[in-house]
Amino acid sequence: MKPVHSQLPKGARIYLPDEAARKRYVEGRLLDVFARWGYREIVTPTFEFADVLAMGTDLGVQESMFKFVDRETGRMLALRADITPQIARVVATRLRDEPKPVRLAYVTNVFRHDEPQMSHYREFYQAGVELIGLEKPEAEVEVIAMTIEGLRALGLDRFQIDLGHPDFFRGLLEEASADTARHRALRDALARKDASTLERLVRELSPPPHVAEALLALPTLFGREIVLERAGRYAQNPRSTRALANLAEVYRLLRIYGLADSVLLDLGEVRGFDYYSGLYFEAYVSGFGAALAGGGRYDDMLGRFGYDCPAVGFAFDIARALAIMEHQQVPVELPGPDFFIIDFTAEKTAALSLARRLRDLGASVARDIISRGLEESVEYARAQRVHHVLVAGSPRTAAGELLTLDLRRGGERTLTVAEVLADPAKCFEGVGGAGHV
Protein backbone atom coordinates (compact mmCIF):
# COMPACT_ATOMS: atom_id res chain seq x y z
CA MET A 1 0.00 0.00 0.00
CA LYS A 2 1.21 3.51 -0.71
CA PRO A 3 1.68 5.75 2.34
CA VAL A 4 -0.94 8.45 2.71
CA HIS A 5 0.94 11.71 3.07
CA SER A 6 -1.44 14.19 4.57
CA GLN A 7 -0.91 17.79 3.62
CA LEU A 8 -0.04 20.06 6.55
CA PRO A 9 -1.58 23.51 6.72
CA LYS A 10 1.00 26.24 6.19
CA GLY A 11 2.87 27.07 9.37
CA ALA A 12 2.14 23.80 11.18
CA ARG A 13 5.09 21.59 11.95
CA ILE A 14 5.82 18.13 13.23
CA TYR A 15 8.68 17.38 15.63
CA LEU A 16 9.83 13.82 14.90
CA PRO A 17 11.23 11.92 17.92
CA ASP A 18 14.83 13.20 17.67
CA GLU A 19 13.63 16.75 17.07
CA ALA A 20 11.12 16.44 19.88
CA ALA A 21 13.91 15.27 22.18
CA ARG A 22 16.00 18.30 21.25
CA LYS A 23 13.03 20.59 21.80
CA ARG A 24 12.35 19.02 25.18
CA TYR A 25 16.03 19.43 26.07
CA VAL A 26 15.91 23.17 25.31
CA GLU A 27 12.68 23.64 27.24
CA GLY A 28 14.08 21.64 30.15
CA ARG A 29 17.30 23.66 30.33
CA LEU A 30 15.38 26.92 30.29
CA LEU A 31 12.82 25.80 32.88
CA ASP A 32 15.76 24.75 35.08
CA VAL A 33 17.19 28.26 34.87
CA PHE A 34 13.80 29.78 35.67
CA ALA A 35 13.34 27.46 38.66
CA ARG A 36 16.81 28.32 39.97
CA TRP A 37 15.75 31.98 40.05
CA GLY A 38 12.62 31.10 42.03
CA TYR A 39 10.00 31.21 39.26
CA ARG A 40 6.94 28.96 39.40
CA GLU A 41 5.26 27.57 36.31
CA ILE A 42 1.84 28.76 35.20
CA VAL A 43 -0.41 27.24 32.52
CA THR A 44 -3.04 29.27 30.69
CA PRO A 45 -5.73 28.19 28.21
CA THR A 46 -4.78 27.67 24.57
CA PHE A 47 -7.96 29.48 23.49
CA GLU A 48 -10.11 32.17 25.04
CA PHE A 49 -12.74 34.69 24.01
CA ALA A 50 -11.17 36.77 21.27
CA ASP A 51 -12.23 40.13 22.70
CA VAL A 52 -10.66 39.29 26.07
CA LEU A 53 -7.38 38.22 24.47
CA ALA A 54 -7.45 41.34 22.32
CA MET A 55 -7.53 43.61 25.40
CA GLY A 56 -3.85 43.12 26.10
CA THR A 57 -2.62 42.50 22.58
CA ASP A 58 -1.09 44.84 19.98
CA LEU A 59 -3.28 45.63 17.02
CA GLY A 60 -0.85 43.97 14.61
CA VAL A 61 -0.82 40.78 16.62
CA GLN A 62 -4.61 40.88 17.03
CA GLU A 63 -4.96 40.78 13.27
CA SER A 64 -2.84 37.66 13.13
CA MET A 65 -4.91 35.70 15.68
CA PHE A 66 -6.55 32.46 14.60
CA LYS A 67 -10.28 32.90 15.32
CA PHE A 68 -13.28 30.60 15.43
CA VAL A 69 -16.78 30.54 16.90
CA ASP A 70 -17.74 29.22 20.34
CA ARG A 71 -20.63 26.77 19.87
CA GLU A 72 -21.96 27.51 23.36
CA THR A 73 -22.25 31.26 23.17
CA GLY A 74 -21.74 32.16 19.52
CA ARG A 75 -18.93 34.48 20.59
CA MET A 76 -15.59 34.59 18.79
CA LEU A 77 -12.79 32.54 20.28
CA ALA A 78 -9.11 32.92 19.47
CA LEU A 79 -5.94 30.92 19.95
CA ARG A 80 -3.48 32.78 22.12
CA ALA A 81 -1.06 34.86 20.06
CA ASP A 82 0.88 35.98 23.13
CA ILE A 83 0.83 34.56 26.64
CA THR A 84 1.81 37.75 28.48
CA PRO A 85 -1.66 39.37 28.35
CA GLN A 86 -3.18 36.11 29.62
CA ILE A 87 -0.81 36.01 32.57
CA ALA A 88 -1.34 39.72 33.19
CA ARG A 89 -5.08 39.10 33.41
CA VAL A 90 -4.65 36.13 35.73
CA VAL A 91 -2.45 38.19 38.02
CA ALA A 92 -4.77 41.21 37.86
CA THR A 93 -7.76 39.07 38.82
CA ARG A 94 -6.76 35.87 40.61
CA LEU A 95 -3.35 36.68 42.08
CA ARG A 96 -4.02 40.31 42.93
CA ASP A 97 -3.62 39.77 46.67
CA GLU A 98 -0.49 37.64 46.48
CA PRO A 99 2.56 39.23 48.07
CA LYS A 100 4.75 40.90 45.45
CA PRO A 101 6.81 40.33 43.49
CA VAL A 102 5.13 37.41 41.72
CA ARG A 103 7.55 35.28 39.71
CA LEU A 104 5.94 33.15 37.00
CA ALA A 105 7.43 30.95 34.28
CA TYR A 106 5.91 29.18 31.29
CA VAL A 107 6.60 26.96 28.32
CA THR A 108 3.84 27.25 25.79
CA ASN A 109 2.74 27.18 22.20
CA VAL A 110 1.57 30.41 20.59
CA PHE A 111 -0.34 30.88 17.34
CA ARG A 112 0.02 33.65 14.81
CA HIS A 113 -1.14 33.82 11.24
CA ASP A 114 2.20 35.18 9.98
CA GLU A 115 4.29 34.29 6.96
CA PRO A 116 6.53 31.45 8.18
CA GLN A 117 10.18 32.56 8.17
CA MET A 118 13.43 32.36 10.14
CA SER A 119 12.33 29.12 11.85
CA HIS A 120 9.12 30.83 12.87
CA TYR A 121 5.95 28.90 12.14
CA ARG A 122 2.30 29.72 12.69
CA GLU A 123 2.35 27.56 15.79
CA PHE A 124 5.53 28.26 17.71
CA TYR A 125 6.88 27.59 21.17
CA GLN A 126 8.11 29.99 23.79
CA ALA A 127 9.69 29.63 27.20
CA GLY A 128 9.72 32.70 29.38
CA VAL A 129 8.97 34.45 32.64
CA GLU A 130 6.99 37.34 34.07
CA LEU A 131 8.27 39.27 37.08
CA ILE A 132 5.35 41.26 38.44
CA GLY A 133 5.24 43.99 41.05
CA LEU A 134 8.72 45.51 40.85
CA GLU A 135 9.33 48.95 39.40
CA LYS A 136 13.00 49.14 40.35
CA PRO A 137 15.68 48.65 37.67
CA GLU A 138 16.77 45.52 39.55
CA ALA A 139 13.78 43.85 37.90
CA GLU A 140 15.10 44.54 34.38
CA VAL A 141 18.54 43.43 35.45
CA GLU A 142 17.18 40.17 36.86
CA VAL A 143 15.45 39.22 33.62
CA ILE A 144 18.42 40.25 31.49
CA ALA A 145 20.73 38.18 33.68
CA MET A 146 18.32 35.24 33.36
CA THR A 147 18.27 35.61 29.58
CA ILE A 148 22.06 35.47 29.49
CA GLU A 149 22.05 32.48 31.82
CA GLY A 150 19.49 30.83 29.53
CA LEU A 151 21.71 31.40 26.48
CA ARG A 152 24.64 29.87 28.33
CA ALA A 153 22.53 26.95 29.58
CA LEU A 154 21.80 26.17 25.91
CA GLY A 155 25.54 26.08 25.22
CA LEU A 156 25.44 29.15 22.96
CA ASP A 157 28.23 31.65 22.60
CA ARG A 158 28.80 34.76 20.46
CA PHE A 159 25.57 36.37 21.61
CA GLN A 160 24.71 40.00 22.29
CA ILE A 161 21.90 41.54 24.26
CA ASP A 162 20.61 44.64 22.53
CA LEU A 163 19.26 47.16 25.02
CA GLY A 164 16.89 49.98 24.09
CA HIS A 165 14.38 52.33 25.64
CA PRO A 166 11.39 53.61 23.65
CA ASP A 167 10.97 56.69 25.85
CA PHE A 168 14.14 58.27 24.53
CA PHE A 169 12.58 58.35 21.04
CA ARG A 170 9.09 59.13 22.41
CA GLY A 171 10.44 62.20 24.17
CA LEU A 172 12.00 63.41 20.91
CA LEU A 173 8.76 62.82 19.02
CA GLU A 174 6.87 64.91 21.54
CA GLU A 175 9.38 67.72 21.16
CA ALA A 176 9.08 67.47 17.39
CA SER A 177 5.26 67.31 17.69
CA ALA A 178 5.10 64.77 14.88
CA ASP A 179 1.63 63.66 13.71
CA THR A 180 0.75 59.97 13.60
CA ALA A 181 1.67 59.45 9.95
CA ARG A 182 5.06 61.18 10.30
CA HIS A 183 5.67 59.36 13.52
CA ARG A 184 4.97 56.01 11.82
CA ALA A 185 7.28 56.87 8.91
CA LEU A 186 10.08 57.93 11.26
CA ARG A 187 9.76 54.68 13.14
CA ASP A 188 9.82 52.60 9.98
CA ALA A 189 13.00 54.34 8.84
CA LEU A 190 14.59 53.94 12.27
CA ALA A 191 13.65 50.27 12.47
CA ARG A 192 15.76 49.79 9.32
CA LYS A 193 18.46 52.24 10.47
CA ASP A 194 17.76 53.87 7.12
CA ALA A 195 19.72 57.10 7.44
CA SER A 196 18.83 58.61 4.06
CA THR A 197 15.05 58.23 4.50
CA LEU A 198 15.37 59.53 8.04
CA GLU A 199 17.18 62.58 6.73
CA ARG A 200 14.39 63.32 4.26
CA LEU A 201 11.68 62.87 6.91
CA VAL A 202 13.42 65.09 9.43
CA ARG A 203 13.90 67.76 6.77
CA GLU A 204 10.16 67.66 6.00
CA LEU A 205 9.25 67.75 9.68
CA SER A 206 11.71 70.59 10.47
CA PRO A 207 11.66 70.29 14.26
CA PRO A 208 13.82 72.49 16.55
CA PRO A 209 17.48 72.07 15.52
CA HIS A 210 18.55 70.11 18.61
CA VAL A 211 15.69 67.64 18.04
CA ALA A 212 16.57 67.26 14.35
CA GLU A 213 20.14 66.54 15.32
CA ALA A 214 19.02 63.97 17.88
CA LEU A 215 16.67 62.19 15.46
CA LEU A 216 19.40 62.01 12.81
CA ALA A 217 21.85 60.62 15.36
CA LEU A 218 19.50 57.82 16.46
CA PRO A 219 20.71 55.12 14.02
CA THR A 220 24.24 55.63 15.29
CA LEU A 221 23.39 55.84 19.02
CA PHE A 222 24.38 52.28 19.20
CA GLY A 223 27.30 50.57 20.94
CA ARG A 224 28.92 50.42 24.37
CA GLU A 225 28.76 52.83 27.27
CA ILE A 226 29.89 55.83 25.23
CA VAL A 227 26.39 55.87 23.71
CA LEU A 228 24.96 57.10 27.04
CA GLU A 229 27.31 60.03 27.02
CA ARG A 230 26.59 60.92 23.38
CA ALA A 231 22.84 60.54 23.88
CA GLY A 232 23.03 62.73 26.97
CA ARG A 233 23.82 65.71 24.76
CA TYR A 234 20.56 65.24 22.87
CA ALA A 235 18.27 64.58 25.82
CA GLN A 236 16.72 67.94 26.58
CA ASN A 237 13.21 66.85 27.49
CA PRO A 238 12.23 65.09 30.74
CA ARG A 239 11.01 61.90 29.07
CA SER A 240 14.21 61.25 27.11
CA THR A 241 16.29 62.22 30.12
CA ARG A 242 14.46 59.76 32.39
CA ALA A 243 14.87 57.01 29.81
CA LEU A 244 18.61 57.61 29.66
CA ALA A 245 18.93 57.66 33.43
CA ASN A 246 17.08 54.34 33.60
CA LEU A 247 19.32 52.80 30.93
CA ALA A 248 22.42 54.08 32.68
CA GLU A 249 21.31 52.58 35.99
CA VAL A 250 20.52 49.20 34.43
CA TYR A 251 23.88 49.25 32.65
CA ARG A 252 25.65 50.07 35.91
CA LEU A 253 23.96 47.13 37.64
CA LEU A 254 24.78 44.82 34.74
CA ARG A 255 28.41 45.78 35.13
CA ILE A 256 28.23 44.77 38.80
CA TYR A 257 26.73 41.43 37.68
CA GLY A 258 29.71 41.13 35.32
CA LEU A 259 27.41 41.08 32.29
CA ALA A 260 28.07 44.44 30.68
CA ASP A 261 30.28 42.85 28.01
CA SER A 262 27.31 40.93 26.63
CA VAL A 263 25.23 44.08 26.28
CA LEU A 264 25.00 46.71 23.53
CA LEU A 265 23.01 49.89 23.94
CA ASP A 266 20.81 50.75 20.98
CA LEU A 267 18.69 53.89 21.30
CA GLY A 268 17.68 53.66 17.65
CA GLU A 269 15.98 50.28 18.09
CA VAL A 270 12.24 50.90 17.92
CA ARG A 271 10.86 47.45 17.12
CA GLY A 272 9.34 46.93 20.55
CA PHE A 273 7.80 50.37 20.56
CA ASP A 274 4.12 49.45 20.86
CA TYR A 275 4.60 46.69 23.36
CA TYR A 276 7.02 47.99 25.94
CA SER A 277 6.51 50.94 28.26
CA GLY A 278 10.14 51.01 29.32
CA LEU A 279 13.47 49.37 28.73
CA TYR A 280 13.50 46.40 26.38
CA PHE A 281 16.05 44.02 25.03
CA GLU A 282 16.62 41.37 22.39
CA ALA A 283 19.16 38.55 22.28
CA TYR A 284 21.04 37.93 19.03
CA VAL A 285 23.44 35.15 18.20
CA SER A 286 26.07 35.48 15.50
CA GLY A 287 24.96 34.03 12.18
CA PHE A 288 21.20 34.10 12.77
CA GLY A 289 19.37 37.18 11.54
CA ALA A 290 16.51 37.30 14.01
CA ALA A 291 16.34 37.68 17.78
CA LEU A 292 16.01 34.39 19.63
CA ALA A 293 14.84 35.95 22.87
CA GLY A 294 13.43 39.29 23.89
CA GLY A 295 11.73 41.07 26.71
CA GLY A 296 11.40 44.24 28.69
CA ARG A 297 9.11 46.32 30.84
CA TYR A 298 5.37 46.64 30.26
CA ASP A 299 4.00 48.61 33.17
CA ASP A 300 0.73 49.36 31.32
CA MET A 301 -0.12 45.73 30.68
CA LEU A 302 -1.82 44.84 33.98
CA GLY A 303 -3.60 48.19 34.01
CA ARG A 304 -5.55 47.08 30.94
CA PHE A 305 -7.13 44.51 33.23
CA GLY A 306 -7.91 46.95 36.02
CA TYR A 307 -4.85 46.53 38.21
CA ASP A 308 -2.00 49.00 37.99
CA CYS A 309 1.12 47.04 38.69
CA PRO A 310 4.60 47.17 37.10
CA ALA A 311 5.86 44.12 35.24
CA VAL A 312 8.86 42.89 33.28
CA GLY A 313 9.38 39.66 31.39
CA PHE A 314 11.06 37.89 28.50
CA ALA A 315 10.63 34.85 26.30
CA PHE A 316 12.87 32.54 24.30
CA ASP A 317 11.75 31.34 20.89
CA ILE A 318 12.34 27.59 21.13
CA ALA A 319 12.49 26.83 17.39
CA ARG A 320 14.99 29.61 16.80
CA ALA A 321 17.07 28.41 19.74
CA LEU A 322 17.09 24.95 18.14
CA ALA A 323 18.06 26.36 14.74
CA ILE A 324 20.91 28.36 16.25
CA MET A 325 22.14 25.41 18.32
CA GLU A 326 22.26 23.34 15.16
CA HIS A 327 24.12 26.15 13.40
CA GLN A 328 26.66 26.44 16.25
CA GLN A 329 26.81 22.64 16.43
CA VAL A 330 25.98 22.51 20.11
CA PRO A 331 25.99 18.83 21.07
CA VAL A 332 22.70 17.63 22.54
CA GLU A 333 22.71 14.17 24.02
CA LEU A 334 19.61 12.40 22.78
CA PRO A 335 18.16 9.91 25.22
CA GLY A 336 17.62 6.23 24.47
CA PRO A 337 16.43 3.35 26.65
CA ASP A 338 18.89 2.25 29.36
CA PHE A 339 18.16 -1.41 28.67
CA PHE A 340 16.92 -3.55 25.83
CA ILE A 341 16.03 -7.13 26.73
CA ILE A 342 16.01 -9.92 24.17
CA ASP A 343 14.70 -13.22 25.47
CA PHE A 344 15.01 -16.30 23.24
CA THR A 345 13.48 -18.67 25.82
CA ALA A 346 9.91 -19.88 25.39
CA GLU A 347 8.73 -18.82 28.86
CA LYS A 348 10.16 -15.22 28.77
CA THR A 349 10.31 -15.21 32.58
CA ALA A 350 13.83 -13.75 32.63
CA ALA A 351 12.73 -10.83 30.45
CA LEU A 352 9.66 -10.11 32.52
CA SER A 353 11.37 -10.21 35.91
CA LEU A 354 14.43 -8.24 34.75
CA ALA A 355 12.32 -5.55 33.12
CA ARG A 356 10.19 -5.11 36.21
CA ARG A 357 13.18 -5.04 38.56
CA LEU A 358 15.09 -2.46 36.49
CA ARG A 359 12.05 -0.26 35.89
CA ASP A 360 11.31 -0.26 39.62
CA LEU A 361 14.74 1.28 40.08
CA GLY A 362 13.92 4.03 37.62
CA ALA A 363 15.74 2.69 34.57
CA SER A 364 14.06 2.74 31.16
CA VAL A 365 13.68 -0.72 29.68
CA ALA A 366 12.43 -1.73 26.24
CA ARG A 367 11.83 -5.33 25.21
CA ASP A 368 12.26 -7.02 21.88
CA ILE A 369 8.88 -8.46 21.07
CA ILE A 370 9.58 -9.43 17.48
CA SER A 371 11.23 -12.80 16.87
CA ARG A 372 14.38 -12.23 14.85
CA GLY A 373 18.06 -13.05 14.91
CA LEU A 374 20.34 -11.56 17.57
CA GLU A 375 22.19 -9.43 15.04
CA GLU A 376 19.03 -7.79 13.77
CA SER A 377 17.83 -7.17 17.32
CA VAL A 378 21.11 -5.51 18.27
CA GLU A 379 20.97 -3.38 15.17
CA TYR A 380 17.51 -2.23 16.15
CA ALA A 381 18.77 -1.48 19.69
CA ARG A 382 21.62 0.60 18.28
CA ALA A 383 19.19 2.64 16.20
CA GLN A 384 17.14 3.27 19.34
CA ARG A 385 20.30 4.48 21.17
CA VAL A 386 20.00 1.70 23.76
CA HIS A 387 22.76 1.58 26.39
CA HIS A 388 22.76 -2.06 27.54
CA VAL A 389 21.43 -5.06 25.66
CA LEU A 390 20.56 -8.10 27.83
CA VAL A 391 20.18 -11.41 25.99
CA ALA A 392 18.56 -14.41 27.70
CA GLY A 393 18.59 -17.87 26.12
CA SER A 394 21.45 -17.15 23.73
CA PRO A 395 23.12 -20.30 22.35
CA ARG A 396 26.40 -18.88 23.72
CA THR A 397 25.25 -18.83 27.36
CA ALA A 398 23.97 -21.52 29.74
CA ALA A 399 20.47 -21.59 31.23
CA GLY A 400 20.04 -18.87 33.85
CA GLU A 401 22.78 -16.77 32.29
CA LEU A 402 22.62 -13.44 30.42
CA LEU A 403 24.80 -12.14 27.65
CA THR A 404 25.12 -8.37 28.13
CA LEU A 405 26.39 -5.88 25.55
CA ASP A 406 27.29 -2.30 26.34
CA LEU A 407 26.43 -0.45 23.11
CA ARG A 408 27.75 2.92 24.26
CA ARG A 409 31.15 1.94 25.59
CA GLY A 410 31.52 -1.43 23.85
CA GLY A 411 32.31 -4.76 25.51
CA GLU A 412 30.28 -7.79 26.49
CA ARG A 413 29.92 -9.80 29.70
CA THR A 414 28.15 -12.90 30.90
CA LEU A 415 26.13 -12.47 34.10
CA THR A 416 23.52 -14.67 35.77
CA VAL A 417 19.89 -13.56 35.85
CA ALA A 418 19.92 -14.18 39.60
CA GLU A 419 22.81 -11.80 40.34
CA VAL A 420 21.29 -9.01 38.23
CA LEU A 421 17.96 -9.42 40.01
CA ALA A 422 19.70 -9.50 43.40
CA ASP A 423 21.69 -6.29 42.90
CA PRO A 424 21.26 -4.48 39.56
CA ALA A 425 23.31 -1.50 40.73
CA LYS A 426 26.33 -3.73 41.27
CA CYS A 427 26.08 -5.08 37.72
CA PHE A 428 25.27 -1.80 35.98
CA GLU A 429 26.81 1.44 37.12
CA GLY A 430 24.27 4.14 37.81
CA VAL A 431 21.13 2.02 38.06
CA GLY A 432 19.03 3.17 40.98
CA GLY A 433 20.93 6.47 41.04
CA ALA A 434 19.82 9.72 39.47
CA GLY A 435 19.38 10.10 35.73
CA HIS A 436 20.52 7.74 33.04
CA VAL A 437 22.55 4.61 33.37
Partner: protein, 214 residues
Protein backbone atom coordinates in the same frame (compact mmCIF):
# COMPACT_ATOMS: atom_id res chain seq x y z
CA UNK B 1 32.09 29.47 12.42
CA UNK B 2 33.37 32.29 10.28
CA UNK B 3 35.56 35.14 11.29
CA UNK B 4 35.65 38.30 9.24
CA UNK B 5 32.68 39.58 7.28
CA UNK B 6 30.86 38.37 4.20
CA UNK B 7 29.61 40.96 1.72
CA UNK B 8 27.08 40.12 -1.00
CA UNK B 9 27.31 42.11 -4.23
CA UNK B 10 24.73 42.18 -7.03
CA UNK B 11 25.83 41.26 -10.52
CA UNK B 12 24.63 43.68 -13.18
CA UNK B 13 24.49 47.43 -13.30
CA UNK B 14 25.41 48.06 -9.63
CA UNK B 15 28.47 45.82 -9.68
CA UNK B 16 30.97 48.19 -11.32
CA UNK B 17 30.36 51.18 -9.03
CA UNK B 18 30.31 48.87 -6.02
CA UNK B 19 33.66 47.35 -7.02
CA UNK B 20 35.08 50.82 -7.64
CA UNK B 21 34.14 51.80 -4.11
CA UNK B 22 35.69 48.66 -2.65
CA UNK B 23 38.88 49.19 -4.64
CA UNK B 24 39.09 52.70 -3.22
CA UNK B 25 38.92 51.12 0.22
CA UNK B 26 41.83 48.90 -0.74
CA UNK B 27 39.86 45.69 -1.17
CA UNK B 28 41.40 43.57 -3.90
CA UNK B 29 41.21 40.13 -5.41
CA UNK B 30 37.78 40.36 -7.01
CA UNK B 31 37.63 39.42 -10.66
CA UNK B 32 34.06 39.87 -11.91
CA UNK B 33 34.95 38.37 -15.29
CA UNK B 34 35.97 35.03 -13.87
CA UNK B 35 33.27 32.45 -13.33
CA UNK B 36 33.94 32.32 -9.61
CA UNK B 37 31.17 33.44 -7.25
CA UNK B 38 33.18 33.71 -4.04
CA UNK B 39 36.26 35.87 -3.54
CA UNK B 40 38.44 36.55 -0.52
CA UNK B 41 40.41 39.59 0.44
CA UNK B 42 42.65 38.20 3.14
CA UNK B 43 44.01 41.61 4.09
CA UNK B 44 40.58 42.88 5.08
CA UNK B 45 39.31 39.47 6.20
CA UNK B 46 36.43 40.03 3.82
CA UNK B 47 34.58 37.45 1.77
CA UNK B 48 32.71 38.66 -1.30
CA UNK B 49 29.77 36.83 -2.91
CA UNK B 50 28.52 37.69 -6.39
CA UNK B 51 24.76 37.09 -6.63
CA UNK B 52 21.73 37.84 -8.71
CA UNK B 53 20.50 41.22 -7.45
CA UNK B 54 17.13 39.88 -6.28
CA UNK B 55 18.90 37.21 -4.22
CA UNK B 56 21.00 39.62 -2.16
CA UNK B 57 18.30 40.32 0.49
CA UNK B 58 17.74 36.61 1.17
CA UNK B 59 21.46 36.00 1.76
CA UNK B 60 21.65 38.91 4.16
CA UNK B 61 18.35 38.24 5.95
CA UNK B 62 19.39 34.70 6.78
CA UNK B 63 22.94 35.65 7.69
CA UNK B 64 24.71 33.82 4.83
CA UNK B 65 26.16 37.28 4.22
CA UNK B 66 26.61 39.93 6.90
CA UNK B 67 26.21 42.82 4.49
CA UNK B 68 24.97 43.35 0.97
CA UNK B 69 24.69 45.96 -1.72
CA UNK B 70 21.30 46.12 -3.40
CA UNK B 71 18.96 48.57 -5.13
CA UNK B 72 16.26 50.27 -3.10
CA UNK B 73 13.76 49.01 -5.71
CA UNK B 74 14.46 45.44 -4.62
CA UNK B 75 14.23 46.37 -0.94
CA UNK B 76 10.86 48.01 -1.48
CA UNK B 77 9.64 45.01 -3.43
CA UNK B 78 10.85 42.35 -0.97
CA UNK B 79 10.70 44.25 2.34
CA UNK B 80 13.40 42.07 3.91
CA UNK B 81 13.93 42.34 7.66
CA UNK B 82 17.39 43.91 7.52
CA UNK B 83 19.04 47.21 8.35
CA UNK B 84 19.85 49.61 5.52
CA UNK B 85 22.20 52.12 7.08
CA UNK B 86 23.83 53.61 3.99
CA UNK B 87 22.59 55.10 0.73
CA UNK B 88 25.46 54.65 -1.71
CA UNK B 89 24.00 57.22 -4.08
CA UNK B 90 24.94 55.41 -7.28
CA UNK B 91 22.69 53.29 -9.46
CA UNK B 92 19.95 55.92 -9.61
CA UNK B 93 16.80 54.87 -11.43
CA UNK B 94 13.05 55.29 -11.24
CA UNK B 95 10.21 52.80 -11.12
CA UNK B 96 7.47 54.01 -13.47
CA UNK B 97 4.17 53.05 -15.05
CA UNK B 98 4.42 53.16 -18.84
CA UNK B 99 2.14 52.42 -21.77
CA UNK B 100 2.29 52.52 -25.60
CA UNK B 101 2.13 55.98 -27.11
CA UNK B 102 -1.07 55.22 -29.01
CA UNK B 103 -2.86 54.26 -25.81
CA UNK B 104 -1.34 57.22 -23.94
CA UNK B 105 -2.76 59.70 -26.44
CA UNK B 106 -6.35 58.80 -25.59
CA UNK B 107 -5.81 57.54 -22.01
CA UNK B 108 -6.88 59.25 -18.78
CA UNK B 109 -5.25 57.66 -15.71
CA UNK B 110 -7.88 59.31 -13.48
CA UNK B 111 -10.47 57.04 -15.07
CA UNK B 112 -8.62 53.77 -14.49
CA UNK B 113 -10.69 51.25 -12.55
CA UNK B 114 -9.07 48.07 -13.76
CA UNK B 115 -5.68 47.61 -15.42
CA UNK B 116 -3.48 44.72 -16.52
CA UNK B 117 0.18 45.38 -15.86
CA UNK B 118 3.29 43.40 -16.73
CA UNK B 119 6.10 43.75 -14.19
CA UNK B 120 9.00 42.30 -12.25
CA UNK B 121 7.70 44.16 -9.18
CA UNK B 122 4.32 42.60 -8.27
CA UNK B 123 4.19 43.87 -4.70
CA UNK B 124 5.06 47.48 -5.44
CA UNK B 125 2.69 47.47 -8.41
CA UNK B 126 -0.15 46.03 -6.37
CA UNK B 127 0.45 48.53 -3.55
CA UNK B 128 0.63 51.48 -5.92
CA UNK B 129 -2.63 50.74 -7.71
CA UNK B 130 -4.62 49.52 -4.73
CA UNK B 131 -3.72 52.70 -2.81
CA UNK B 132 -5.49 54.54 -5.66
CA UNK B 133 -8.54 52.30 -5.58
CA UNK B 134 -7.63 50.64 -8.88
CA UNK B 135 -7.95 46.88 -9.39
CA UNK B 136 -4.79 45.54 -10.93
CA UNK B 137 -4.19 42.27 -12.67
CA UNK B 138 -0.48 41.53 -12.57
CA UNK B 139 1.41 39.58 -15.19
CA UNK B 140 4.63 38.62 -13.46
CA UNK B 141 7.59 38.60 -15.85
CA UNK B 142 11.31 38.23 -15.27
CA UNK B 143 12.78 40.34 -18.08
CA UNK B 144 12.09 42.23 -21.33
CA UNK B 145 9.05 43.81 -19.71
CA UNK B 146 8.82 46.39 -22.54
CA UNK B 147 7.83 43.62 -24.90
CA UNK B 148 4.54 42.89 -23.12
CA UNK B 149 2.47 45.82 -24.50
CA UNK B 150 3.87 45.33 -28.00
CA UNK B 151 2.47 41.81 -28.22
CA UNK B 152 -0.74 42.43 -26.29
CA UNK B 153 0.26 40.55 -23.13
CA UNK B 154 -0.60 43.58 -21.00
CA UNK B 155 -1.56 47.15 -21.83
CA UNK B 156 0.81 48.68 -19.34
CA UNK B 157 4.06 47.93 -17.61
CA UNK B 158 5.74 48.88 -14.35
CA UNK B 159 9.50 48.87 -14.76
CA UNK B 160 12.76 50.58 -13.87
CA UNK B 161 14.02 53.34 -16.12
CA UNK B 162 17.40 55.04 -16.07
CA UNK B 163 17.55 57.29 -19.13
CA UNK B 164 14.19 56.37 -20.61
CA UNK B 165 15.94 55.20 -23.77
CA UNK B 166 14.52 51.66 -23.63
CA UNK B 167 10.97 52.98 -23.23
CA UNK B 168 11.39 55.31 -26.20
CA UNK B 169 12.92 52.59 -28.35
CA UNK B 170 9.87 50.44 -27.72
CA UNK B 171 7.34 53.21 -28.30
CA UNK B 172 6.36 53.49 -24.66
CA UNK B 173 5.53 56.62 -22.65
CA UNK B 174 5.90 57.15 -18.92
CA UNK B 175 2.55 57.79 -17.22
CA UNK B 176 3.49 57.94 -13.55
CA UNK B 177 6.47 57.56 -11.25
CA UNK B 178 6.04 55.05 -8.43
CA UNK B 179 9.36 55.47 -6.63
CA UNK B 180 13.05 56.23 -7.01
CA UNK B 181 15.94 53.97 -6.27
CA UNK B 182 19.65 54.05 -5.51
CA UNK B 183 22.03 51.39 -4.25
CA UNK B 184 21.93 50.70 -0.50
CA UNK B 185 24.11 48.83 1.94
CA UNK B 186 22.03 46.36 3.93
CA UNK B 187 23.11 44.55 7.09
CA UNK B 188 21.93 41.36 8.76
CA UNK B 189 20.22 42.16 12.06
CA UNK B 190 22.35 39.83 14.15
CA UNK B 191 25.61 40.85 12.45
CA UNK B 192 24.85 44.47 13.30
CA UNK B 193 24.96 43.46 16.97
CA UNK B 194 27.38 40.57 17.18
CA UNK B 195 29.94 41.94 14.67
CA UNK B 196 29.19 45.49 15.67
CA UNK B 197 32.75 46.82 15.51
CA UNK B 198 33.70 45.40 12.11
CA UNK B 199 30.34 46.23 10.49
CA UNK B 200 30.31 49.81 11.74
CA UNK B 201 33.91 50.28 10.63
CA UNK B 202 33.21 49.08 7.09
CA UNK B 203 30.12 51.27 6.75
CA UNK B 204 31.93 54.30 8.16
CA UNK B 205 34.78 53.72 5.69
CA UNK B 206 32.32 53.54 2.81
CA UNK B 207 30.50 56.65 3.98
CA UNK B 208 33.74 58.57 4.32
CA UNK B 209 34.86 57.43 0.85
CA UNK B 210 31.54 58.51 -0.71
CA UNK B 211 31.74 61.85 1.08
CA UNK B 212 35.25 62.38 -0.27
CA UNK B 213 34.32 61.65 -3.87
CA UNK B 214 31.21 63.84 -3.94
Amino acid sequence: MKNGLTLALPKGRLLDPALDLLRELGVSGIDPDSRKLIFRDAGHDLEILLLKPADVPAYVTYGAADLGVVGKDILLEQEPDVYEPLDLGFGFCRLVVAEPRALWERDDPAKWSWVRVATKYPRLTEAYFSARGIQVEIVRLDGSIELAPLVGLADRIVDLVQSGETLRANGLVEVAEITRSTARVIVNRASMKTEHGAVTQLIDDMRARLGASR
